[in-house]
């Protein structure tokens, strides 16, 4: 479907397949994410847009397996991820096959990965930028301590090397230092670290750590990294805090960053600068970014491709230019029409009539059917699936792909 004959398109680095996340509630199961599927290509910025409650944040969190269960129930689907430079694909031993998308790398299902493997990926290969940096930073720890955690978690061997402790050293002091660097220090280690001979070596580890933290902060254009490292979150402005979050996310040079509305909680004046910073760093590091937002104009500005979500499903996906200039799903058309434009007639704001449907025990059929101006009988009976309408542009709508006569029968047979 998305294969490219010229082979210029970067490989798919992550893919969501038919993800279903439900929430138990008193009135029944809320189908918050109900069959979402899309792909993220290496180094691209994919916008995931939709209204509040359409399931975009839950989808984003699925990449880090950070969906709290309970109350959530992962009812099905896969979140696949191919880390750069990971192990070879077991099917083709690295020569490239269909299973690994011709990359030769191994494909991980993040939802089924054991906890310790998942922890090696979190923060190192996939990182997250949260919506409100004021809440995502611990108020009682300094920025330096919080940033250091990422390096200690994923780069402790490099830190030990920088401090001149080789992996072969197995004496008492080296073991204590290794435990400190791996954040497995015991009470005695913390006491011993204040006295020679450990003090000097522990100081060198700290220096190596501080240098890395300062460099990471400097990359997000923080003017005075050393001062910021000593500060507590409440001493920084919202924009500063978000820069810290971005620095933390980029610390280990991840393959994929989940940015969950990273500018929504910020002052309007800062938003543009933070957005620009994310874009610049994303291009410099060639990191893939899943940019979750409800703001179409932001997505249009920074993203390469966009997936439009509605009520727990993807309605339309394609390149930004395709989707914005030639929207094919009535919901996307409505959304775009609702964006206020300079020079439009005053006093009139376009909107889509009706409201988002209840997601408790939904009935079959297109979720948008109730609000759609071009609704057909099939729309309330059958679920439309994503189908291609052009190069890399797909839409889930019967206007584009009329249901063939057999579909109703198949659907019926499947549900029985």
């Amino acid at each position: 479907m998305t294969s490219n004959l010229e082979g210029t398109e970067p490989p798919v680095i992550a893919e969501v397949r038919d993800l279903r996340v439900h929430f138990g509630s008193k009135r029944g199961r809320v189908h918050a994410v109900d069959g979402v599927g899309f792909q993220i290509r290496d180094g691209e910025m994919l916008g995931l847009v939709g209204e509040t409650g359409c399931g975009k944040s839950v989808t984003g969190r699925a990449f880090l397996n950070l969906i709290p269960q309970p109350p959530a129930i992962i009812a099905g689907g896969e979140v696949l991820f191919r880390p750069r430079g990971g192990a070879a694909c077991p099917a083709c031993a690295g020569s490239g096959c269909h299973a690994c998308g011709q990359t030769g790398g191994e494909t991980l299902d993040l939802l089924k990965l054991p906890q310790d493997r998942m922890r090696q990926i979190r923060g190192a290969r996939i990182a997250m930028i949260f919506q409100d940096p004021g809440k995502a930073l611990n108020p009682t720890l300094t920025i330096g301590v919080q940033m250091a955690e990422v390096f200690l978690q994923h780069k402790s061997d490099e830190l030990l090397q920088d401090a001149g402790i080789s992996a072969d050293d197995r004496n008492l002091a080296a073991n204590a230092l290794r435990r400190i660097a791996h954040q497995e220090d015991r009470w005695l280690d913390r006491r011993l670290k204040r006295f020679p001979p450990l003090r000097q070596a522990a100081g060198r580890i700290q220096q190596a750590l501080d240098a890395r933290v300062a460099a990471a902060l400097a990359e997000t254009q923080i003017a005075n990294p050393l001062r910021v490292m000593r500060a507590y979150p409440h001493e920084l402005s919202g924009g500063m805090r978000q820069r810290v979050m971005i620095a933390q996310a980029l610390a280990c040079d991840p393959d994929l960053i989940i940015a969950d509305e990273p500018t929504t909680a910020l002052d309007v004046t800062i938003q543009a600068r933070i957005l620009e910073l994310i874009k610049t760093l994303q291009e410099r590091h060639r990191t893939a970014v899943l940019y979750i937002s409800h703001d179409l104009s932001l997505v249009r500005k920074v993203c390469d491709r966009v997936a439009v979500m509605y009520a727990g499903r993807v309605a339309e996906v394609g390149t930004v230019s395709d989707v914005f200039s030639n929207p094919r799903h009535p919901y996307t058309q409505g959304l775009l029409a609702a964006v206020p434009r300079a020079g439009a007639r005053r006093g009139h704001l376009a909107s889509i009539p009706g409201s988002v449907p209840e997601l408790v025990n939904p009935t079959p059929g297109c979720r948008f059917a109730d609000r759609c101006s071009q609704v057909m009988p099939a729309c309330t009976q059958l679920d439309p699936v994503l189908g291609s309408v052009g190069e890399g542009h797909s839409v889930a709508c019967f206007l584009e792909h009329p249901p063939h006569a057999g579909a109703a029968k198949i659907e019926k047979a499947l549900t029985e």
Binding site: L64, A127, N138, P139, T140, E149
Partner: protein, 337 residues
């Protein structure tokens, strides 16, 4: 502001607070009646009463009376206790030490156990362990201390005979020196294992009685604070960094959940000091309890003054420690807003 500066500032305020407390306590005690009431009898005539009043400066204004009291107190003279028939300063310390030993021991056990149970329940939210802890905590908070103490006494002393009453075995007590009046400390200083075991054995039942309510309050507070912290974004952010659950809990959630809990612990200490009197009477603990009860009934003002003053000062110190821990935990407190 550095933590050290914060502590210094709080210590400087402390004498002023103690002075204020003594003024209030003195005034309130004088409202309770004349301090010579305990010495008067029906056979005394008006002149004899007047002579007594003059001797104790009771015909002078209240602030002068306070001045006389302060001067004497600063030189270690807290007056004469009619109930004990001895100077307060002589009888006070051993009894006060007994009460303090019981209160401090209960508080230490209650804080340790309460925090542990709170974390245990908070990390197992809505599982059966959480429900069991809740039942224990609710009973701890609602069972009246004097009733619960008597039940323990009937079961473990009268029926099973596992635990003694009183403070010590007389022989062991006599065999070691008592420089501090704290039995545990004295037996450690004397290097007596026998003494330490005896002290702890006698402490068990009164400490459980006294600490149960405090355990309940601390458990509930720690549990709900932890549950709330675990729902914060920064906990997910810590997990998103790849931190193991152990560090997410210990370095992030638990530490922040302690902030509101520590405040409650400070208040619980006052609760413990009041409860100590009831526990002492139940277990024949030779503390201030019985003496204080009769002193209040008979209007023994020198005793009441001393007791209220010392417990207030202790409460001030306990709260100072709580505030220091609070400032250490939460930078927003010490950095000042």
């Amino acid at each position: 502001m550095q933590l050290r500066d914060y502590i210094i500032r709080r210590l400087l305020i402390l004498p002023i607070l103690i002075f204020g407390v003594s003024v209030i306590v003195f005034t309130l005690t004088r409202i309770g009646g004349s301090p010579i009431g305990v010495y008067l009898s029906h056979e005394m005539n008006a002149e004899e009463v007047a002579a007594l009043e003059e001797r104790f400066h009771l015909n002078e204004p209240l602030y002068t009376q306070y001045w006389y009291w302060l001067k004497a107190a600063l030189s270690g003279d807290f007056g004469y206790s009619g109930v004990a028939s001895a100077p307060v300063a002589e009888v006070f310390w051993p009894k006060f030490a007994a009460t303090m030993e019981l209160s401090i021991f209960s508080a230490a056990v209650a804080v340790t156990l309460g925090l542990w149970l709170g974390v245990f329940a908070g990390t197992r939210r809505n599982k059966w362990q959480d429900h069991v802890t809740r039942v224990v905590a609710v009973s701890g908070a609602s069972l009246p201390l004097f009733w619960f103490g008597i039940i323990l006494l009937i079961v473990f002393w009268a029926n099973l005979g596992w635990f003694p009453v009183g403070r010590s075995n007389a022989e062991i007590w006599a065999s070691i020196a008592h420089p501090t009046g704290f039995y545990i400390v004295d037996s450690i200083l004397a290097g007596s294992w026998q003494g330490l075991v005896d002290a702890l054995w006698h402490l068990t039942l009164p400490a459980i009685t006294l600490g149960f309510g405090a355990v309940a309050i601390i458990t509930r507070m720690m549990r709900s604070a932890l549950v709330e912290e675990l729902q914060q974004d920064y906990v997910d952010a810590a997990r998103a960094k790849g931190l193991p659950e152990r560090l997410v809990l210990n370095r992030h959630a638990k530490r922040n959940a302690l902030v509101p809990t520590v405040t409650v612990i400070g208040l619980t200490i006052a609760f413990l000091m009041q409860g100590a009197i009831a526990a002492e009477i139940i277990y024949r603990w030779p503390g201030l309890g019985r003496w204080m009860a009769s002193a209040v009934v008979r209007g023994d003002q020198a005793t009441i003054m001393t007791y209220v003053l010392f417990t207030s000062v202790l409460f001030l110190f306990a709260n100072l420690i709580v505030d220091i821990i609070y400032a250490k935990l939460d930078p927003r407190v010490r950095l000042g807003d």
